[in-house]
Amino acid sequence: MSKAIKKVIAEFLQEEADVNKDIVVLCSDSRGSGGLGPYAEAHKEQFVEVGIAEQNLVGISAGLAACGKRPFAVSPASFLSTRSMEQVKVDVAYSHTNVKLIGISGGVSYGALGMTHHSATDIADMASIPGLRVYFPSDQYLAKELMKVLARDEEPAYIRIGRNAVADVYEDGKVGFTMDKAVTVKEGTDLTIIACGEVVYEAKKAAEALEKEGRSVRVLDMYCLKPLDEEAVCRAARETKAILTVEEHTKYGGLGSLVAQVTAAQAPTKVRSLTLPDAPVVTGKTAEIFHHYGLDAEGIAKAARELL
């Protein structure tokens, strides 16, 4: 099965807004791409359209939060994480307003639309802001669990999701979710693959292929980039022979950097990272781009074999 995470989030917010009048969804002419048309219809009083103005989107969200509302600012990740970065830094994180920033159509999911629409630096951008949490859910079930916590907690966060349907990593009701703890998708002893977002599914498939070759590969879903689950990283470093990180993000300040920083200080081990390039990516659909840069199951398995 597969489902676009934006749909899960939109459905969740629609239910949550029924019971919590403080929930407010804000869009920057992005209700369609966010799958929030039905929400906007059903909850006119809890919906704010700001037009194509991402700085204003985040500033208004901060003002709403400062007055006790629970705003969810939904806008393409590329614009939300860079165009409005200063509003995120000052009005959300620094002023400590409870704004949830939902970066939709993230990573390379806009495909052929090109670098203007890709967000390949948003872990680095958002995690570098003091006081801001960063989450990259991998599938519909994990996203739902994450949303249940985020809708009710009091701290700001940035959440990046993709545009398209993503294959299920988990089964319904069996995510094994604990907030801010990596989910062990698969146990293993030879190597650990740590992934976040949509490539977790690819990592899982790669691990299953490697299993058939007699390699025991652990897969961690590090949906929590900040705070990073450092314990899970250190356990992986100590209990398996090497770590392979996989992310839909460039190598600067992404998952690979964060993991290597932890292992270098606390549990030195070999870490290799699969990332997007430090350049505009090749034209194509997500699957084609992942394949091109070795971020699909085939490329991940190949890198894992080299590492082992």
């Binding site: 103005a53 985040v58 709403l64 006790g68 000052v90 009005d91």
Partner: protein
């Protein structure tokens, strides 16, 4: 406003100006020109118009204030201390090592709602606060004070557009129109005329007033409160450095620090002003 009340507000403005020059002289840092320019606006809002006090910092019905031109924080600190939000002695630590009183508003300080300092942020946040009041059916009003140089920030106009679009008549903005900014006159640096026409085009009720005249400020805020269906912007035509003759209208005094001699002269001028009231 009664003459007696006006007189008392004018005296308060002199006292706040004295605190500002003292704070900046002691600390050796601060934005003195803009502080003295915005003082009368703050005095009218905090001592006459706004429903705010240290006792009701958590009251959801309190009015909301944002100093978007955050570099004028010394003026705000002086007002908040005088209002009793924190002991006045704490201001002696202003800008000193480890002090919570930094050079821009910070909501760790009692009485400050949100952090500012980077220009062009406050009005968007104010729009959010005004929308929240409307959603919650609350009667509080939101006030945002901007600088005129600040209005070169594009984000100001994103917020202005939204304020007009949502007809936020519970939102009042001020532009401290002192016609100067750090590099020169606003018209040399980046044209701001006609501020009145610009704001009107964005759907705002525009009031252009002498911005260091407490009676005029007070009348404008009253009129803003009565105006329905539109947010109001008060273009306060101020004098940068107002109240200290050698600082008035001098570009160089954007953030210059008075020498001991200049400080004494400023105090003398303020004392003379007070005596005349």
């Amino acid at each position: 406003m009664e003459q007696q009340e006006l007189r008392s507000l004018q005296k308060k403005a002199v006292a706040i100006r004295r605190e500002i020059v003292t704070m900046i002289h002691q600390a050796g840092t601060g934005h003195i020109g803009g502080d003295l320019s915005v003082t009368d606006i703050l005095v009218d809002l905090y001592y006459k118009q706004m429903n705010v006090s240290p006792e009701q910092q958590k009251n959801p019905e309190r009015d909301r204030f944002i100093l978007s031109k955050g570099h004028s924080v010394e003026a705000l600190y002086a007002v908040l201390a005088d209002k009793g939000y924190f002991p006045k002695e704490e201001l002696e630590t202003y800008a000193q090592y480890g002090s919570k009183f930094i050079g821009h508003p910070n909501n760790k300080i009692p009485g400050i709602e949100v952090n500012s300092g980077s220009l062009g942020h406050g009005l968007s946040v104010g729009v959010g606060m005004a929308l929240a009041a409307r959603m919650d059916g609350r009667g509080y009003r939101t006030y945002v004070v901007m600088g005129d140089g600040e209005c070169a920030e594009g984000s100001v106009w994103e917020a202005a557009m939204a304020g007009g679009h949502y007809k936020l008549d519970n939102l009042t903005a001020f532009v401290d129109r002192n016609r100067l900014q750090i590099s020169g006159t606003t018209e040399e640096v980046m044209t701001q005329d006609s501020a009145e026409e610009r704001w009107a085009a964005f759907g705002w009720n525009v009031l252009s007033i002498p911005g260091n005249d407490l009676a005029a400020i007070d009348d404008a805020v009253d009129l803003a409160k009565r105006t329905k269906g539109k947010p109001t912007v008060i273009i306060a035509n101020t004098t940068k450095g107002c109240g200290v003759s050698f600082i008035e209208n001098q570009v160089a005094w954007h953030h210059k620090v008075p020498t001991d001699e200049q400080y004494q002269k400023a105090l003398e001028e303020l004392a003379a002003k007070e005596a005349s009231l």
